[in-house]
């Protein structure tokens, strides 16, 4: 099973590393302030970002340490809050029937994860899409039908079916090191991309979609994250089929590409809508979706990759609530 042999060590290592990074960042910004480098506006922005991270990191890592119910609860809450931001940005909130149906779908799919009922969990994607297709028919208002149904299905795919895979991972007895690794790796993916882009420069990746991303940044993130995930993944997956270095590299590639993909998905959404951020709830960052977009595609991709080679919670009891 995952993390059976070295899981505790990896978990501890990741938590300590996260704390160290926060302290180092605070020291660097403090040094900038003390030596007077950088404009006051830049320093204020950096402090704001650091403060947001200081709040976000415990909120992300805490539920992982507290247990599977907490993880699934946190994923449900995150899904619903991201849905709210998406609804208000796209205007879907003006269709309460559709927005409500997607919210219900998110609750159901996370319930299936909580119940450890894989069949229901998987079936809910086509079933919920079918419900979304018919739920607005009684309104007898075909004007805008495709738009509201399309927006709703997109929302359910990202915040319901997609994100809930992260919660389902918690059904494994030793899920902690993998989930912690994913959460930190997608964040570091962004840092790698930013750093590589700034250091190497070069042609833009998709200037119409995201004007600050470069090809060198994308490739740098791909290399860095692959190495990180493969390196930390090796002790986590010792004793399973995934300890094969080639498969671990595959895992790293998936995390980096899916993470960057999620970022570009959100950039495309924002450009199409003509807005800059998805919200204002995180000072210095924007909305929740601006921060957590990388997880949206990483969660299902990693779940099925690891699930194919190893499996999640195969030795755990199923149908805990409904059985």
């Amino acid at each position: 099973m995952i993390g059976q042999t070295h899981g505790r060590a990896v978990t501890l290592g990741i938590l300590v590393a996260a704390g160290v990074v926060l302290v180092l960042a605070a020291a660097v910004i403090g040094l900038l302030s003390a030596t007077g480098r950088g404009s006051p506006a830049l320093r204020r922005e950096l402090w704001l970002r650091l403060a947001s991270w200081a709040v976000l990191l415990p909120l992300m890592l805490g539920p992982v340490m507290l247990g599977r119910v907490w993880v699934i609860g946190a994923v449900t809450l995150l899904g619903l809050l991201c849905l709210r931001e998406y609804d208000r940005a796209t205007g879907l909130f003006r269709e309460p029937v559709m927005a409500g149906a997607v919210a219900l779908g998110i609750l159901f799919v996370n319930f299936a994860a909580l119940d450890h009922w894989y069949g229901f969990f998987v079936a809910l994607f086509p079933l919920t899409v079918a419900v979304l297709a018919v739920v607005s028919l009684p309104l007898d208002r075909p004007d805008g039908y495709i738009q509201r149904t399309g927006l709703a299905v997109f929302a359910y795919m990202l915040f319901g079916a997609g994100l809930a895979h992260l919660g389902y991972m918690a059904n494994d007895r030793y899920y902690q090191p993998l989930v912690l690794l994913l959460l930190t790796a997608v964040a570091i993916n962004d840092v790698f991309a930013f750093t590589a882009g700034k250091l190497l420069g070069g042609p833009k990746l998709l200037p119409g979609t995201s004007p600050n991303k470069t090809v060198s940044g994308a490739l740098g993130a791909l290399c860095g994250t692959t190495l990180l995930v493969a390196g930390v993944g090796w002790p986590v997956f010792r004793g399973t089929r995934l300890e094969d270095p080639l498969l671990l590299v595959g895992l790293g590639v998936i995390v980096s590409i899916a993470g960057q993909g999620g970022d570009l998905v959100l950039s495309s959404i924002k450009r199409d809508l003509g807005i800059k951020d998805m919200g204002t709830v995180i000072p210095g960052h924007g909305g929740l979706l601006d921060r957590f977009n990388s997880l949206l595609l990483v969660a299902p991709a990693v779940f099925h990759y690891v699930g194919y080679y190893v499996g999640f919670g195969m030795d755990q009891p199923t149908r805990l609530i409904t059985g």
Binding site: R84, D87, R88, A89, G91, F93, A99, G279, T280
Partner: protein, 239 residues
């Protein structure tokens, strides 16, 4: 292919504090649920404690429109909103005095979420504010509830109407629905701490239209005068 019309919420990008005080605040799922629950409570209360009788519902046009009434009590906006049919009430906003209802966050949140109130700041309403309200009316097909006297009457006698309602509707196809509310001032006059039970009656009059009136000083004052006369007329009928 017919293009999609993707419109972010009018208050997108505002911080929570700014959003509470914004004329562009659009209620979401959570707000609607809270407002619906509050509406049920208010309707039960108005029926039980005040035996509210509503006449003239058939005069209500299709939204958008503006409701004007005499103002004597904090109960007025609650009653007008509660009397509307549910589908109109979900998109109905009362204009409330900013200094009274929006100066501190908890009261502002209550006014915004339970009563769907939008702030109007005495002596600080700009042309941009009026444009925003006009846009809400026409584009969102909203219902606006306002009290052109500008303040609650202290002695029970209806005061003169100010020209704000004219600035909103003159030159637009948005109708004004005059209403007279009897018994609200007697139940909860200004200065009294709690409302006292007593009969209340709401009379809704025929809609007035001001599409040909110019939006200048003379036009807006004429609109105010016509609305005032209509509401006074309903007041004599309701006795």
């Amino acid at each position: 292919m017919k293009p999609w019309t993707l419109r972010p919420a009018r208050d997108h990008g505002l911080t929570p504090g700014e959003r509470l005080r914004s004329h562009g605040r659009e209620p979401g799922l959570g707000s609607r649920a809270v407002a619906a629950g509050w509406r049920t409570l208010v309707r039960a209360y108005l029926g039980a404690a005040h035996g509210l009788r509503v006449d003239g519902l058939e005069h209500l046009p299709e939204p958008p429109f503006v409701m004007v009434a005499n103002h004597g009590s904090h109960l007025d906006a609650l009653t007008l909103a509660a009397a509307l049919p549910r589908r109109m009430a979900a998109n109905a906003f009362a204009l409330a005095a900013g200094d009274t209802f929006f100066s501190n966050a908890p009261v502002a949140a209550f006014a915004a979420y339970a009563v769907n109130a939008l702030p109007v700041w005495r002596r600080r309403t700009t042309a941009a504010d009026l444009d925003a309200l006009r846009a809400r009316l026409q584009e969102d097909r909203a219902v606006l509830i306002l009290f052109p006297e500008g303040t609650r009457t202290r002695d029970g006698v209806m005061g003169p109407f100010r020209s704000g309602v004219g600035a909103l509707v003159a030159g637009t196809p948005v109708p004004v629905v005059p209403c007279f509310l009897a018994g609200a001032w007697a139940a909860w006059p200004p200065g009294q701490k709690m409302p006292r039970p007593g009969p209340m009656r709401l009379v809704i009059g025929a809609a007035l239209r001001f599409e040909e009136v110019a939006r200048d000083r003379e036009g807006t004052m004429r609109v105010a005068a016509v609305c005032e006369a209509a509401v006074r007329g309903l007041g004599t009928v309701s006795r």
